[in-house]
Symmetry: D2
Subunit: 269 residues, 4 copies
C-alpha cells in the first residue's frame, strides 16, 4: 500500500510508454489509453498492476534516478544519465560529500548530485538567473532531495562562498571565466568537472586549465546505444543520441611546479 | 598533513602516469622515475608536489572511485566506470539502499556499490568461488568500504537469503539460471541489472526475462571516447575500448497480466 | 550550358535543403521557397546560381553517387553510403568486375555497384518479387547505369545462372539459405558480402559460413557521425543513425581442409 | 594456375594471419609457421590450399583493395578503408573520372582513387616531398594501377596544373592554404574532400571554406567496429580505432551570392 506523496512510475506493457507521478488520494492520472485513479495505484503498490477506465493495463514501478533525470521539467538543455553516471565516478561523489555546481539550469544534475551525497552531504548550486533556481528547486523537491541543496544567485566573477568542497561542476557557456573561482572553492587535490558542447569551448577551456593550477586533465565523450528487446530480432534502435557534450575532468593542485610547464602537451595513457 | 592509511594518487606531469598507494610511515614508493618517501607525501598533503630521489615531480591527488575501479587488482574481467556509472542511475542506487550482487568476481562493482550506498546501506555479494570473495574483500577494504559488504559463497540454484532488496545485479556466465532467485530477492517494482558480453547470452536472457515476471526490459551499450588534451591539437585518442558488455535492465512485478503477452515485442521509445 | 536529361542537384544556402532532378526543357521545379524553370538551371550550368520566382537562391550542383543513394525511391529498407563504401573496398569491386547481387530491393546497392563496375563490368541482380526489379531498374536508369545491370526474377533455391563472378552480395532475410548458390556462382578465392540487421540472423549466418567452404570471415559494423559546420560552434549533430546492419564478409575456397575445423573459433586480429 | 607477377593473399585458418605477396617462380614465402614455395601457390590457384614445410595450411585468396590499403608500405599516417569508402561516394568518384589529390603521402588513397577511376580515368597526385612520390608510385605499381597516376612534386602555393577535375582531395597539415588552388582546379559544381585529424584544423578549414566559393559543407566522422566470429560467442572485439580524422566535403560554385552570407550558419539536415 503506497501513501500520498509517493512518487511512482506507471509503465504500459502495450506501448512501452510511462508516466511519472506523485500520489494524491482522490486524484486521477490521464494516459493515452484512459484514466487511472491514484487510489487504485496506492492499493496496487509497487510491482502491482492497475487498469485504465478502458481496461488497459499499467504496472506500478519504482521510479529510478536515471528515469527521473531524463524526464525532468526543463527550460534548458539538461545533462543525461550517460554523462551524469560517468561524472559521479570521475569526480568521486560519495555519501557525505560537499559538492558545488555552477550553472544550475533546470536542475537535472543538481538532483543527481543531491541524490548521491545523501543526507550527510550537501550541494551548493549557483546560477545567475533566479528563474532557473526556482525550477531546479521544484525538481529537487519532487525527487525528495531539495533539503540537501542550497541554491544561490550570482555571477561567477563574484566567486563562490564555499571553501574546500570535495568536487565542483561547471556547466556554463564560458566556463574558463569561472576557473579562478572554482580553484578557490575546491579542496586541493580534488576534481573539477566541466561540460561543454562545442570544440571551440573545449579549446579555450583547455587553455585555461593548462594556465591555471590544474593537472591530470581528461576529456571524455560518451555514447549510449539502446537495443530492441525482442529476443528473436535483437538489434540496436535505428537512431541514437549523436552528441550531448564533452566532459572535462581536471584536478586542482596547490601550485604548478616551475619545471612541469610541458604538462599540457602530455596525454593520459 | 596526511596520515598513515590514507589512500593517495601520485600523478606525474611528465609522463601522465600515476600510482595509487596507501600511506605507511617510513615506506617508499617506487616509480619509473625514482623512489619517493611516503613521509614526503604525507607532508605535501593533497594538492601538493613531491619529488623522486632523481628530482622528478609528482602531484599528490585524491583518488576517485572511478580511478580506483579501473586499477583494481583483478583475476577476472572487471566492470568499467562507463558501465558502472550508468548502472547507478538505471538501478536507482542511493545512500541507504540494500543491494544484492551475484558474481562478485574481483569486486570492482562491489566496491562501487558499497561506495554509493554509504554507511546506512548494505551490499550482499555472492560468488561460488571463495577465492574471488577474498580478493573482492581486499579491494573493498582498500577503498574503505568493506564494512558495508557481506560476502557469501554459494550456487545461484540455492537462491539468495535476502528479501526485498532495492536493486540486484547479476554478472554471471548464465544469468538466466539466476532469474528465479533474483525475482524472489527483489522488492516488487524494483530493478534488476544484468551484464552479458555476447549476443547469444543476450538472447537467452531476454527469453528468460520475457517468460518471468519482469517488465520494462532495456538493453544498453555504452562507449567512452577519450581525447588528447593539447589545446592546439584537440583530437580523440587513436584507440578506444570497442566492447565491454551489454547492460540489461528489467523491473520485477508481482505478476504478469494475462493480456500483456505481446510486451516482449514492444520497444521502449 | 546543361542539356535535357542531365541530372542536377539544387541546393539552398538558406535552408540547406536540396532537390535532385532530371532537366526537361520547359519544365518547372517546385521548392518550399517557390518554383524554378528548368531552362534557368540549364542556363546557369553546374556551379551556377538560380532563383525561385520568389527570389530565393539555389545552387546548381553535380549530384554524387552517395547523395543519389540516400535519396533513392524506395519500397524497402535501403543500404546507406557508410556501408556501401566499405563494401566496395572489402569486396574488391573494380571497373570491369562482374558482380552478382541477390535481394535487389529498391536498387540502392544495385545502382552503386553498377556505378563502380563501369561500362566494362556488369551486375546481375536477383529478386523474387518482380515489382522490386521494376523499381530498381528505374533507379538505375535514373542514375544512368541501367545498361550495366541484368535483373532476374527467381528463388534463391533455384541457384544463380552465373559462374565465376568476382564478388557477390546477399541482402535477404534468410541469407544462409543462399550460401550454396552463392558458393557455386563465386570465383574461388573471391568475396561474399552479406547484410543482416539482427544478431539472430548473424548467428545463423556464421554457422552457415563456418559449415560451408568459406574462410576469413569478418563481421563489421559502421557508424557515421555528422557535425554542425558553424566554425565558431563546432559540434556533432544531436542525433545519428544508431544501426543499419551488420556487414559480413567471407571468402569462398575450393574446399575446406580436414585439419582447419577450428577456424570458426579463431578471430581475425 | 596463377602466373608470375600475380598478387595473392595467403590466409591462415589456424591463426587468422595473412601475407600479401607477388608471385615469382622459384621464390619462397616465409611465415610464422614455415615457408611456402611460390610455385605451390601458383599451382593451387585462387581458392586453393597450400602447406608450409611444416605442414601448416594456408588458403590462396584474391587480395581486395581494402586489404591492400590497410597493409600498404607507409612512411606516413595512411587513410583507412572506412574513410576511403565513404569518400568514394561523397566525392562521386566514377570509372573515367579525373581526380586530383594533394598530399600523396604513402599513396594509400592514391591507390584507391586509381583503382576506382579505371583505365579511362586519371589521378594527379601532388606532394612537396619527392620521397613520398617514390613510395606511393611503388605502392600503386604493386596494386597494378600506377599507369593511371601522374605524380607531381610542388608547393600548393604554386597552384595545380589541371583544370576542371571531377573531384579533388586535400590531405595536408594546412589545407586552408590550398583552397584557392583547389578552387581553380575543380570543375564548377564538383566536390572537394579534405581530411584533418584535429578540431583546430577543422575550425580553420571551415573558416576558409565559408569565406571561399564553397557551399554545402559537410563534416563527417566514421567508426568501424569488428566482431568476433564464433557463432556461439558473438561480440565486438575488445578494442577499436577511436579516431582517424574528420572528413570534410564541400562543393565549388562559380560565385557566392550576395544574399547567402548566412550559409555558414546553417547545417545540413
Amino acid at each position: 500500500m503506497l501513501n500520498d506523496g509517493d512518487l511512482v512510475l506507471l509503465w504500459s506493457p502495450r506501448k512501452g510508454d510511462s508516466y511519472l507521478l506523485r500520489l494524491k488520494s482522490g486524484a486521477f492520472q490521464g494516459t493515452h489509453m484512459g484514466t487511472i485513479p491514484h487510489d487504485d495505484i496506492a492499493q496496487a503498490s509497487f510491482g502491482g498492476m492497475v487498469q485504465t477506465h478502458k481496461g488497459q493495463p499499467f504496472y506500478v514501478l519504482r521510479p529510478t534516478s536515471g528515469e527521473f533525470m531524463r524526464r525532468i521539467r526543463r527550460q534548458t538543455q539538461i545533462i543525461y544519465p550517460k554523462d551524469a553516471g560517468l561524472l559521479l565516478l570521475y569526480l568521486d561523489i560519495f555519501p557525505g560529500a560537499r559538492v558545488l555546481e555552477c550553472g544550475t539550469g533546470s536542475g537535472s544534475l543538481t538532483t543527481m548530485l543531491a541524490h548521491f551525497v545523501g543526507d550527510e552531504g550537501h550541494v551548493y548550486s549557483y546560477d545567475r538567473r533566479e528563474e532557473f533556481s526556482v525550477l531546479a528547486r521544484e525538481n529537487c523537491d519532487r525527487w525528495g532531495v531539495g533539503h540537501r541543496v542550497t541554491f544561490r544567485i550570482g555571477e561567477v566573477t563574484d566567486g563562490f562562498g564555499e571553501r574546500d568542497v570535495d568536487a565542483l561542476v561547471l556547466d556554463l557557456p564560458s566556463p574558463w571565466e569561472a576557473l579562478s573561482a572554482a580553484y578557490e572553492a575546491l579542496a586541493p587535490g580534488s576534481r573539477l568537472a566541466v561540460l561543454v558542447p562545442t570544440t571551440n569551448q573545449l579549446e579555450r577551456l583547455l587553455d585555461g586549465l593548462h594556465e591555471g593550477n590544474f593537472v591530470d586533465v581528461q576529456v571524455l565523450e560518451t555514447f549510449l546505444r539502446t537495443y530492441k528487446t525482442n529476443a528473436r530480432r535483437i538489434r540496436p534502435e535505428d537512431t541514437m543520441i549523436g552528441h550531448t557534450g564533452y566532459l572535462v575532468i581536471a584536478t586542482a593542485v596547490r601550485s604548478r611546479g616551475l619545471d612541469d610547464g610541458q604538462e599540457g602537451e602530455k596525454d593520459r595513457s
